[in-house]
């Protein structure tokens, strides 16, 4: 299977007062065309940093890429000319749905103005050539009309009532769910091949979340767009993803098709994580210990201080990727059940 996106050995440090924090440590990740991949992990595990590294929008002053590649359709985005990435990839071939729909619009402009500003530069009908300074850029009349048609059509696709009136309204006139629909529309408009969705439903109520997840999944499947969906909510991941990758403290632990992931998790961390979801019977099982500091992370597998199966091997080396069954792989020296039914 030809990968659309292949992240290989990506390591990113953040500068802090106490020294560099190793936020990503040799991450591998694949996204196939048309696939919805869930990136699951607890807060601070580096999933947002990974999403930002792929988009090339890490904070310039604080983040330092220590090594690795981000290959998108064969080109390494980290080594490609930044201008070419900006013109052709970011916002075009790869788009973004933010976590918080409340702060992602400017409050002072109608949403129509903001969407058309996006289309002026990132419309699939615009040429990919180098662009003039934003202030002097002209928006050709015919293209504007065609783009506007596309905008209205996409707003209908995300089920916004009265698309033409929507464009004249200000962001505060919309509810959270509607704003997230607008964000999905904006992510789809440049006709991307990959959408990176960073916890897009955490800020929403469950009934609205169910509506948005259903809409997003239907739209991307219909258009054949890949999605990298970060979330800390395992239920959401179960809803929308074809395949799930688990991260812990900047390392990926396990990757598996959604069904296999929930049915026979092989990594001790994944097991613990699934166990800590409150069960209907009222059992509560937490993970003893705390998430390690990323400034001085434990050597080897970063989960070893909290792991029941840890041995000297785990403290010394980070386990290599071990393929178990169909598309199911784990980075652990002592995988539980080795992928068989528990």
């Amino acid at each position: 299977m030809a990968e659309l996106l292949a992240v290989r050995g990506l390591s990113v440090d953040f500068v802090t007062d106490h020294g560099p924090a190793q936020v990503l440590d040799g991450i591998n990740l694949d996204v196939a065309p048309g696939e919805v991949v869930g990136l699951v992990g607890e807060s601070g595990c580096g999933k947002t940093t990974l999403a930002r590294a792929i988009l090339g929008i890490l904070p310039a002053g604080a983040a330092r890429i220590r090594g690795g590649e981000v290959r998108f359709k064969g080109t390494d985005l980290l080594r490609e000319d930044p201008r070419a990435v900006n013109d052709r990839v970011r916002g075009r071939a790869i788009t973004f749905i933010p976590q918080d729909p409340f702060t992602s619009f400017s409050p002072v402009f109608p949403v129509g103005t903001q969407i058309m500003d996006l289309m002026k530069w990132k419309s699939p009908r615009a040429g990919a050539g180098p662009r003039p300074a934003a202030l002097f850029g002209r928006y050709p009349r015919e293209r504007w009309r065609a783009d506007r048609e596309a905008v209205l059509e996409t707003l209908r696709a995300v089920q916004m009532p009265e698309p033409a009136r929507t464009l004249r309204r200000l962001p505060h006139e919309f509810s959270g769910g509607q704003r997230q629909r607008l964000m999905i529309a904006m992510a789809l408009l440049p006709r991307p091949e990959l959408i990176i969705a960073d916890e897009p439903t955490t800020a929403l109520d469950v009934t609205i979340q169910a509506q948005i997840l259903r809409l997003l999944r239907a739209l991307v499947k219909e258009r054949g767009v890949s999605v990298l969906f970060t979330t800390h909510d395992l239920g959401t991941a179960h809803e929308i993803c074809d395949r799930i990758v688990v991260m812990y403290a900047g390392q990926e632990m396990e990757a598996a098709p959604t069904d296999a992931f929930f049915r026979h998790p092989a990594h001790p961390y994944t097991r613990r994580l699934l166990d800590s979801v409150p069960s209907p019977g009222g059992d509560l099982r937490d993970i003893p210990g705390e998430v390690p500091s990323l400034v001085a992370p434990p050597p080897g597998c970063r989960f070893h201080p909290r792991c029941d199966y840890a041995t000297a091997e785990c403290r010394a080396d980070r386990p290599a990727f071990r393929a178990l069954a169909d598309g199911h792989g784990v980075r652990c020296h002592h995988p539980v059940g080795a992928g068989a039914d528990p």
Binding site: T207, H232, L234, G235, V277, P278
Partner: protein, 319 residues
Amino acid sequence: MSAPLLEVVDLVRHFPVRNAFGRRIGWLRAVDGVSLAVSPGETLGLVGESGCGKSTFGKTVMGIYTPTAGDIRFAGREIGRLARRERRALAKDLQYVYQDPGASLDPRWKVVHSLHEPLKIHTRLSRAERDREVRAILTAVGLPDAHLDLYPHELSGGQQRRVGVARILTLRPRLVILDEPTSGLDVSVQASVLKLFRSLQATFALTYVFISHDLSVVRAMCARIAVMYLGKIVELGETAAIFERPRHPYTQSLLAAVPLIGGRRVTQAFALEGEPPNPRDVPSGCRFRTRCPLVHDRCAVEEPALRAVDGRVVACHVA
């Protein structure tokens, strides 16, 4: 059932909506006639989506808002309209836990100082007695004595949270209102926080009102739940029964919206359309009728009252 510790009868809390000139142009009906009772030692869950009035309910019971109408009886005594001074004395028995109790610690005070303060204000204990009390509480929340001499910034987020909870418990309250105590937490941390609340309930004989939008948490923690929609209770009863067979169409939709790991995908089956109406402008009759799949003529005219159905109470004409 023993006499309820907390009994709320037809509680109403409206907020005035004002225009730019300060003239009242309407009412926001945050809590609009809620009645329930909490027995000693139980955990009552209060669930609903944002804007349904569950936090306003908690804060009105707590005395942070004064009720517009209705009665709040705590241990048999009416407390809704007490004078400020009497109300203050009651703070000892009735405590409120915010989303992140650790955030309410003073950053310039050592933990020991923060924990002694409530005892200084509300009790006449001597210094040594206070000290003994504080250490006992700290052990109960699972922190070593050495933490007494630390400042909040020297603790991790989880430890701060524990200190915040310890501070609420130093007065040995009888009723604790937990307002979304685990929202925004990761599942593994959530599990340890919930475990803590459970063990404290057993140790100190606490009664909880557990406000949350997370149904799986409520299901794990509460024996009874009340489901709210736009300021009203739509269904109230045993948790197991409600999860097993929800009767109100809103409860049914709410439960259907929760992703179930390893089960059916709600994205394929979920039917509820639209969003909750603005609480400033509630629909006539049944408040849920604008989104209800079972709506018929009567729902627009007549507001359904809570009635006993199937071992619980439900406010619906068709349930």
